[in-house]
Symmetry: D2
Subunit: 91 residues, 4 copies
């Protein structure tokens, strides 16, 4: 069981929507839409992706890290989670 197990359907739907938005970006460029409008849409897709990441991080801390803590293995899990936050910050 993963931390996100209870919300798999929700994440599936959000990622399907993001996939459609990326396809929409390709269409905008194919149709020669204005650069700034494409950039605005890229910022919006990136934000949607980061929000999925924040949701997964929330559930990871709430479930996986807390269970690891009960088993005396919380420290390694926290080091790993901080590494993930760092990668999200530095995209």
């Amino acid at each position: 069981m993963r931390g996100y197990a209870l919300h798999k359907d929700d994440y599936g739907r959000r990622l399907a929507r993001i996939e459609g938005q990326v396809r929409g970006l390709a269409r905008m460029i194919d149709e020669d839409q204005y650069c700034i409008d494409v950039l605005t849409q890229i910022a919006s897709v990136t934000k949607a992706l980061q929000n999925v990441g924040l949701g997964l991080l929330d559930e990871h801390l709430r479930h996986c890290v807390m269970e690891a803590q009960t088993a005396g293995e919380g420290d390694a899990k926290i080091t790993e989670a901080i590494g993930a936050v760092e990668r999200l910050l530095r995209v």
Copy 2:
């Protein structure tokens, strides 16, 4: 003609690859892969999207803004471009 006109095919290919990566994220969740691995992949997709944005911004400045400047309309274009950078920073 847009700033990115000469590289439309390249952007098309990059966005097709990003679309595939987003589909891969959905598959990772469907297959119950480890939260941290999904987060690492989200950071990678976000970075690929931001790089498409940086490329479009580069060509927008190099072509659209410069042409506007020649026509005496550079100032409004720069205000607009800075707004786009701000949205990319604050995703």
Copy 3:
């Protein structure tokens, strides 16, 4: 006791260095240094600040959140920590 209690001196030194870097930025502008060089230095100071934030978040999760978890109050602490990560991402 805060999560960062054991490393207060280290954080003090890092923030003193960052304070000096911000003073250096003001000096660069006062001396009419080149815009791009000031921007490069701003990126460096911002990164140093974000690294202090990541360190504090690490110790907050490792100590405060884990202790709250033992006391049955972990959930509220995680909601709060995720809010802090979101604010760091959206600066």
Copy 4:
């Protein structure tokens, strides 16, 4: 003359305020204030710094890059400015 020449005093004041905020961060840690409150303040100082960066970038594009363009040297200036945006995004 730099792009920011007309607003040097304004940037000086903003950076003096940011310097005070960094000193305030050090004081928060010295006084054992709550980790999350320090993180919230770090996000705020980082945002203030990024805003100074956006302002300098705006004036750099508006003045230095446009003058370089008139002198037929715009391309190199844009490559350089995009590098600066990339460093601001990846802090």
